[in-house]
């Protein structure tokens, strides 16, 4: 009977008693709302009007019923803040039935900014100390929701008193409520702490658990204060059988160990015991996380360090293999934490993680992908990428496929291509990636192609010819869909073929593919690169033809003929470049006809090597002596020169670019131009003498300036390893690249697969060779091979069997500056730490500090809306 008694029944019975006085019970309201789905708002507005009438009656049960209905409407999203005073009225009823309704309403709709809260202090104090434990409990539950700084300050002592109540039911709640008090009034923490600590040894396990909960929360903010409690917690951990409590204690230890490594050493054993014994997944998961955190914080190896990691990884494997998606997800999540410090242990489970890529749940697949990037090594990179490529073919959903694509590029390019041993293979992978339908990552692929071609000199011949195939098949990239950006790869292809055209097998054919009239369908920047590189290839063709004038003439004439259509490009830059190229060619043609052409004049346009510039280069440029960045380059406009002041202020921009005319140019050219600023300026061309002079002085200053980025003659990292020669020999024996006309998509076995197989064979051969070498023990080659056999002694290290390909890592830096730059990295870490923003920072109080931190840091929600808080909190009366 009692169990099924609801407020409605109460009201219904009361209704019987009061007859007509009640309009609507909550039941009626809920049913009414369900029956008025079409005009819910209207129905509710009427109901609110009725409720307002009910609240005016001088009958507490009617008011309570009205407030109960309002609580329901509040949940549906209606504003009931106007009824705050009525709610307090119901809260203050001396009947438990109504008080409960009042507190519920308050806990749902009051927040720390509610201004009537200041009226409630005494009422709540009375309720907290009520002789009925349920009244007191109702008050505490409500207070935990709407407590603010004022209430926390005024009621802290009352709550402290409740912690000594004879009833565990009350003590437990008081302890938990205390945490809310601390959050809203951090000053209360220090004086209350001793009593909170006592509660850890309360005879009632529920109160103990509550104290553990609160201290666990507190310790997340400032673990240092709670280190001294470690023995108590240790005892609790080894004696408690309540998993809810155990999880909290273990979490707490996770926060403490970074401060006290000895604690971590002591923890490993009980934790691993728990991992072995527990059947509760939540506890197992918490233990694993804490063990991992402990092992990370104790960097110095523990004796059974590896065994613990192995145990965790094994257990995680079981989680990942479980059919429960939740366990799978969390298992992968925890694996990624282990990966950061013990990549080898995780790498052993490569197979499992690859399996997860087939999971139905995308979030699990993405987690597995995250793990993969940390698992690659020289040894397994090609295998992993190959599986990912196969996977990409099968998978559905362009978002996930794009995710796969960017992951492939990420794992291949990480740490400057550290794990790539065969760049031919990588280039062919990139080329195959361009076939991914509708990818958004065209730019990414293009950037990679450019980067590899620029950084890895030895790959250029191969890259050029692969790019030539792309250019020859440019038409496949003309797809109606605008969602894909894959055409961007043509940008890279055209530039690589142009810049490194001497490696092209059939440059003339490539030139013809570049002159494809369809290219005006591509975006402007791609066209621009095309037009620019036409000239490079022609220059090369003429150069390599030994000044064969007939051929040159033919070539130039053909190009001029085809290029004229590009003049109609819709993109301004592309059009301009086409026009410039065309006119240069026309001039060339004229000169050839007059037999006055010298190809060196043309090649001078593209002289010099483009080297990668280090990301930090700009920052590393030292400020030369005598350069004051804050000083004016030109004198600031002086007040006295009226004329120039007016022009400068009016011309803003032009003044900026041209500088002050009198100083740079002969003043007479501007003498007439003072008032009409819209009149076009006549730029007076300097005479050839002047130009020559300027050029000379510039050259001189360039030579004097050590920071000028000129192409360096000296080659970096010239030392090529023997192995890399082996490697290039291997290339020659490889199946030759498919003919130019072949569309790569039609190949039976993809090029990357061929290269993959070849690579595996080479690898095996080298391994055998090395083995026989070290078996023989004869070190004919002196230093190098003896070093090799040393390494071979350590079986795990097989890195030396992989070819070393020279990669220009980093990039050019200003002379005299080294790449050290650790300070930058440190900055990065620092800023990342700062970003991890802790909303409960207010509780970061050091108990040992003499003065209690006077600076008041507002609690979480206030932090989110600081301005609001200031407005809404009434002044303390």
């Amino acid at each position: 009977m009692a169990m099924s008694t609801t407020m409605d029944q109460v009201v219904k019975r009361a209704k019987d008693s009061f007859g007509q006085m009640f309009d609507k019970s909550l039941h009626d309201l809920v049913r009414g709302i369900r029956n008025h789905k079409d005009n819910e708002a209207k129905y509710i507005n009427e109901a609110i009007d009725e409720i307002k009438q009910e609240l005016k009656q001088d009958n507490i049960s009617m008011k309570a019923n009205a407030v109960n209905k309002l609580t329901y409407l509040q949940m549906l999203g209606y504003d009931i803040s106007w009824s705050a005073f009525n709610i307090i009225e119901v809260m203050s009823s001396n009947k438990f039935t109504f008080k409960r309704i009042g507190y519920l309403a308050a806990s749902q709709c009051f927040h720390e900014g509610t201004d009537v809260l200041m009226l409630t202090t005494n009422m709540i104090r009375k309720d907290l100390s009520s002789s009925s434990m349920y009244e007191s409990a109702v008050a505490m539950s409500g207070l935990s929701c709407f407590i603010n700084a004022d209430l926390a300050r005024d009621l802290a002592n009352d709550i402290m008193t409740l912690m000594t109540s004879t009833k565990p039911y009350i003590r437990k709640r008081a302890v938990l409520l205390l945490y809310k008090v601390f959050l809203n009034n951090p000053d209360a923490l220090k004086p209350a702490f001793p009593r909170l600590k006592e509660k850890l040894e309360d005879p009632d396990p529920g109160v103990q658990a509550a104290a553990v909960n609160v201290i666990c929360e507190l310790a997340r903010r400032n673990p240092k204060n709670y280190l001294a409690l470690a023995p108590i917690f240790f005892r609790l951990m080894t004696t408690s059988t309540n998993n809810w409590v155990l999880i909290k204690i273990i979490k707490l230890f996770g926060a403490l160990t970074p401060l006290e490594p000895r604690l971590g050493k002591k923890l490993i054993e009980p934790l691993t015991n728990l991992i072995h014994s527990t059947s509760a997944m939540s506890l197992l998961y918490e233990c694993i996380n804490t063990v991992v955190a402990v092992l990370v914080s104790i960097s110095s190896g523990l004796p059974n360090h590896n065994a613990s990691i192995q145990l965790c990884v094994q257990k995680l494997r079981i989680l990942i293999e479980d059919s429960d998606q939740n366990l799978k997800y969390l298992g992968l999540l925890a694996m990624s934490k282990i990966l950061q410090t013990h990549p080898k242990s995780v790498q052993a489970h490569n197979d499992l993680i690859m399996q997860c890529l087939d999971d139905k749940d995308e979030s699990i697949r993405l987690r597995a992908l995250d793990l993969l990037s940390g698992m690659v090594s020289k040894k397994n990179l090609m295998d992993i990428v190959r599986k990912l490529m196969i996977h990409m073919d099968k998978s559905e959903g362009s978002h996930y496929r794009d995710e796969l694509l960017s992951k492939i590029i990420e794992i291949c390019s990480q740490s400057d291509y550290q794990h790539i041993t065969n760049f031919e293979w990588y280039i062919s992978i990139l080329v195959e990636l361009t076939r991914l339908e509708g990818t958004k990552h065209g730019n990414l692929i293009a950037r990679q192609m450019l980067d590899v071609a620029v950084r890895v000199e030895s790959i250029r011949p191969f890259a050029c010819n692969q790019m030539a195939i792309l250019l020859a098949n440019a038409h496949v990239f003309i797809i109606g869909s605008s969602s894909t950006t894959v055409a961007e790869v043509l940008y890279a292809a055209a530039w690589i073929c142009g810049e490194f055209c001497s490696y092209l097998k059939e440059p003339q054919k490539t030139l013809e593919s570049i002159l494809n009239t369809k290219i005006i369908l591509f975006p402007g920047h791609i066209q621009s690169v095309y037009y620019q590189n036409i000239l490079k290839i022609i220059t090369y063709l003429i150069q390599s033809s030994d000044n064969d004038e007939i051929l040159a003439k033919q070539l130039v004439a053909m190009t001029i003929d085809k290029m004229s259509i590009f003049l109609s490009s819709g993109d301004v830059e592309a059009q301009e470049r086409a026009s410039i190229t065309l006119h240069i060619l026309k001039t060339v043609l004229k000169l050839i006809e007059k037999s006055e052409f010298n190809v060196n004049e043309l090649s001078a346009l593209f002289d010099g090597v483009l080297n990668p510039v280090a990301a930090k280069a700009q920052r590393k440029v030292a400020i030369p002596n005598g350069l004051d960045l804050d000083a004016w380059i030109n004198d600031p406009p002086s007040e006295s020169e009226d004329e120039s002041v007016t022009t400068d202020s009016r011309h803003d921009n032009s003044g900026f670019f041209y500088g002050k005319h009198e100083e740079n140019y002969s003043s007479n050219s501007y003498s007439n131009e003072t008032s009409n600023y819209q009149q076009p300026r006549n730029y007076v061309e300097p005479t050839t003498d002047e130009l020559e002079k300027q050029r000379e002085s510039r050259k001189q200053s360039e030579n004097m300036n050590p920071f000028y980025l000129k192409d360096s003659k000296k080659t970096k990292l010239t030392q090529k390893h023997e192995t890399s020669i082996d490697h290039s020999n291997g290339n020659e024996s490889m199946p030759s690249t498919p003919g130019k006309g072949a569309i790569p998509a039609n190949l039976q076995i993809s090029l990357s697969d061929q290269l993959y197989r070849q690579s595996k064979i080479d690898e095996e051969n080298r391994r055998l060779k090395k083995k026989s070498k070290s078996d023989g023990g004869s070190s004919k080659k002196g230093k190098k091979s003896s070093k090799k056999s040393d390494i071979a002694a350590i079986d795990e290290n097989e890195d030396d069997i992989y070819p070393t390909v020279q990669v220009t890592r980093g990039g050019e830096l200003p002379e005299g500056v080294t790449e050290s730059g650790h300070e930058d990295n440190d900055d990065d870490i620092g800023s990342r730490k700062n970003k991890k923003y802790d909303p409960h920072r207010a509780l970061n109080i050091d108990f040992n500090e003499k003065p209690i931190q006077a600076t008041y840091t507002p609690p979480p929600s206030q932090l989110k809306e600081p301005s609001k808080k200031l407005v809404e909190t009434p002044p303390v009366s």
């Binding site: 039941h27 927040h111 349920y134 929701c145 039911y169 709640r173």
Partner: protein
């Protein structure tokens, strides 16, 4: 399933406006999940743990270092409590007796922390309070009877 809110409980002080915004965003995020997916999703700097029981979704937003599985157990425990109290609970029980659902919740959790892990104790406390309510009602009725109103 239609994204209607049946119960809500906040442990950080929020204005009505931000409550509505957060609720809307989380409901949308949870409803967009496919059935075979895990029960966890990342939402801003929090983790959302949800579980579906018949037509009802129970969602909790927890902090980064909170334990997801423990949260799932908490949700499950609450559903068990509802089930025991109402006797094979259904959505309508919660809609029509929403205040009871809150009372049970307040016995189970305070300030976002589980305060009572024993189902029996939670239900006993709730029932005791129902008895008090019942007694008060009887009292009232007898007063009314005395006054000759009933």
């Amino acid at each position: 399933r239609q994204g209607k809110l049946r119960l809500q409980k906040w442990y950080t002080s929020q204005t009505d406006k931000s409550k509505k915004k957060i609720t809307r965003e989380i409901i949308a995020a949870v409803l967009s999940r496919k059935p075979k997916m895990s029960s966890f999703l990342e939402w801003k700097d929090l983790k959302v743990v949800y579980k579906r029981y018949a037509s009802l979704y129970f969602c909790c937003a927890i902090e980064q270092d909170d334990n997801e599985l423990l949260t799932l157990e908490t949700i499950h425990r609450y559903v068990e409590l509802l089930d025991k109290y109402f006797g094979s609970v259904c959505e309508l029980d919660i809609i029509f007796n929403f205040e009871k659902a809150y009372f049970i919740f307040d016995e189970f959790i305070l300030g976002g922390e589980v305060q009572e892990t024993s189902k029996k104790s939670v239900l006993k406390a709730v029932n005791d309070q129902d008895v008090i309510q019942e007694e008060e009602l009887e009292e009232k009725r007898s007063v009314l009877e005395d006054l000759g109103l009933a």
